[in-house]
Structures are given as C-alpha cells and as structure tokens.
C-alpha cells in the first residue's frame, strides 16, 4: 500500500509540474535566481543519488563491485560513449568484478 501511495504522489506531482510549465504566462518563473536554482537542483540530486546508490545500503556505507562499474561508466562518458553504452559498461564491469569474487 505504501508503495502505491508513493507512486500516486509522484505521478500527480510530476505531471503537475510539467503542466505548470506549459500553462504559466511567460515571465512568471523567468527570474534569474529561480532559473539558476532550477538548473542546479537536479545537479545536487543526481550527484547525491549516484553516491547513495553506489556506496550506501540502507544506513551503511559500502564499497563493492558497483564502484568499479561506476568508474567504467565515467570512463565511457569521457570517451563520449552513447547513453546506453555508459549504462552497459557499468553493468558489465560490475558483473565481471563480482564473478571474479570482488
């Protein structure tokens, strides 16, 4: 039940902000500080989530094969690999390190 509540809240909230952007008159949200915040908020959230899902399990910090996988994804990005290949690199390297007993 909890999961459905979370899904419903997220679905309604995410749709509402999408629609809000299309409906508000030009100029209302176009303040420099608001725009800066809107651009930086995803940066903070994505960085935090990357760190959490790589190095945290519940409330414990861990270092496992996923760290190697993320490193591979970072290398793939630097080499200008397409989106899917970046994710593929992380998956393959994580599986490889685990198979080797990492």
């Amino acid at each position: 039940m909890n999961i459905w509540i979370a899904i419903a809240v997220t679905a309604v909230g995410c749709y509402a902000v999408k629609l809000l952007g299309l409906l508000v008159p030009v100029g209302v949200l176009e303040k420099p500080l608001v725009k800066r915040m809107a651009a930086l908020l995803p940066v903070a959230l994505l960085a935090a989530l990357t760190a959490q899902q790589t190095f945290a399990e519940g409330q414990n910090l861990i270092l496992d094969a996923k760290a190697a996988g993320l490193l591979a994804a970072a290398v793939a990005f630097v080499l200008r690999a397409p989106f899917l290949l970046i994710i593929g690199a992380a998956v393959v390297v994580t599986a490889g390190v685990r198979a080797l007993g990492g």
């Binding site: 909890n2 999961i3 509540i5 979370a6 899904i7 809240v9 997220t10 679905a11 909230g13 995410c14 749709y15 902000v17 999408k18 629609l19 952007g21 299309l22 030009v26 949200l29 176009e30 725009k35 915040m37 809107a38 651009a39 930086l40 908020l41 995803p42 940066v43 903070a44 959230l45 994505l46 960085a47 935090a48 989530l49 990357t50 760190a51 959490q52 899902q53 945290a56 519940g58 409330q59 910090l61 996923k66 996988g69 993320l70 994804a73 970072a74 990005f77 397409p82 989106f83 899917l84 970046i86 994710i87 690199a89 992380a90 998956v91 390297v93 994580t94 599986a95 490889g96 685990r98």
Partner: protein, 256 residues
C-alpha cells in the same frame, strides 16, 4: 524565439535558396533525429524495469510508474528510495524535486511550440529532458512541433515497452545483482549528471551534495539524506552571491 534561430546565411542574389539552410531542416531530417533520441533513450527503460523489479516493486507498480510518471530520473529515485524501506512521502519528495526541472522545460517549450491551450494537458506528459533537447535544436516552429511529437511518442511507447520487458526479465533472471544490474540505476544518474557538470558552480554543487549524502546516510533515516543533500544547490548559490557582492564592494572601495 528569436534567440534560438540561427541568422540566415547571406546569399548571393540570384542563387536558388538551399532548402536546408532556408528552412533549416527537412521534415524527414527532423524525424530522423527525433527517432534516434527516442529509440536510444527508450531502450534504457529496460534498465528501469530491471531495477524496479529487483528493488521489490511488482510488475503492475513498475509499469504504472513508467506510464504515469514518465520522467526517468524521478522513477529511478523513487524505486531506490522505496527499496531502502523509506517513508513513501519522503521517497516521493525526492522524486518530485527531480521532476521540478520539467516545469522549466515546459516554460521554454510553450514559447517554442505555441500550442493551443486545450492541447497542453495532453502534451504535458511528454515534457522531459529528451523532448526538450530535440525541440530546442530545431530552427522553425514546424520542425519543433515535429521534433517534439516524434520524440515524445517514440520515447513513450518504447520506454513503456522496455519497462515491461525489463521487469519480466528481472523476474526470469532472479539474482539481478549477479548480472551487475544493480549498477544500472546509479549509472543512469551518472550519465544524466555528467553532461551538466560544465562549470565550477555545477561541480561544486555536485561535490558538496556527494559529501552531504555520504556523511548523512549513517545518521538520518532512509530517504531524508537526499533531500538534505539537495540543499547543496542553494548553499553554493548563496556563497557565490556573497562572493560576487564582496567583489563589487571591494572594487567600489578602491574607486573611492
């Protein structure tokens, strides 16, 4: 929007206008670009389906997320937070804050697409990173509308199909961690984040968010650290603002 249009190239009189430069792009070129993005990103719904199913969400819940939320980063964030056994509202809050950026995409798109008001509730679900990127790259309103619709439609259909396949696949595979599939979620975040790290400001925000996150995970309940880490954005903006005003003050000082 005028600033989006590239200035028309100066042409010698009498030469036939090149349709590619005069109109910017042919319709089929726009469709090709849009389908390329739609297919490439649409396929990564597979990673979402696998991640969601292996984090314990049912097939129906996984598919409901892709159909109803349809903004990848928020979906990954939500299933990650729910897997940690977090409070549903805290979990939804993190996903919601990630989705807020779409409001600003909508703002640009409503100017560029000039949609009639009654169409907007239907177009809204497609207002995401990829449709915005394709639309912004087009030179004319016609090309923008084609780009938006083709990217939105191909991505929506494919993202939902691959979500279903990924969730079914995860159930068939069983131990998804042995296949390294638990790395798909964080790798997706990294792939979305990396192109944003253009300047020192973005990098400072990202670094501070990581430090806050890792420092707070052991001490705060699940789902809360990510919300606190989001404060990295206003914190860095605040420090920057202080520095900028300190800079102007000291310059004023030397003038006097």
């Amino acid at each position: 929007m005028a600033e989006q249009q590239t200035p028309a190239p100066i042409r010698a009189e009498g030469t036939a206008p090149d349709p590619l430069t005069a109109l910017g792009k042919t319709d089929s070129a726009v469709v090709r670009d849009a389908l390329g993005v739609g297919f490439a990103v649409g396929l990564s719904g597979f990673a979402f389906g696998v991640t969601s199913a292996s984090n314990g969400l049912s097939l129906l819940q996984t598919c409901a997320l892709s159909l109803l939320v349809f903004t990848g980063a928020s979906q990954f964030a939500l299933v990650g937070a729910l897997a940690g056994g977090g409070n549903p509202v805290t979990a939804a809050a993190g996903a919601f804050f990630l989705g807020v950026r779409n409001a600003f995409y909508g703002l640009r798109l409503s100017q560029l697409l000039e949609l009639p008001r009654w169409v907007r509730p239907f177009a809204a679900q497609w207002v995401i990173d990829e449709t915005t990127a394709v639309t912004l790259a087009q030179p004319t309103r016609r090309a923008r509308r084609i780009g938006f619709v083709v990217t939105g439609l191909s991505l929506y259909v494919l993202w939902n199909l691959t979500t279903l396949l990924g969730a079914l696949g995860a159930e068939a595979i069983g131990d998804t961690a042995a296949w390294g599939l638990d790395a798909a979620g964080p790798a997706t975040f990294l792939a979305l984040l990396a192109p944003m790290l253009r300047s020192t400001t973005e990098r400072a925000v990202a670094a501070l968010a990581v430090v806050l996150m890792l420092g707070l995970v052991p001490v705060l309940p699940n789902g809360v650290p990510v919300l606190v880490a989001a404060l990295a954005a206003p914190l860095v903006l605040f420090v920057q603002g202080r520095r900028a005003s300190a800079g102007t003050n000291s310059r004023e000082g030397t003038d006097r």
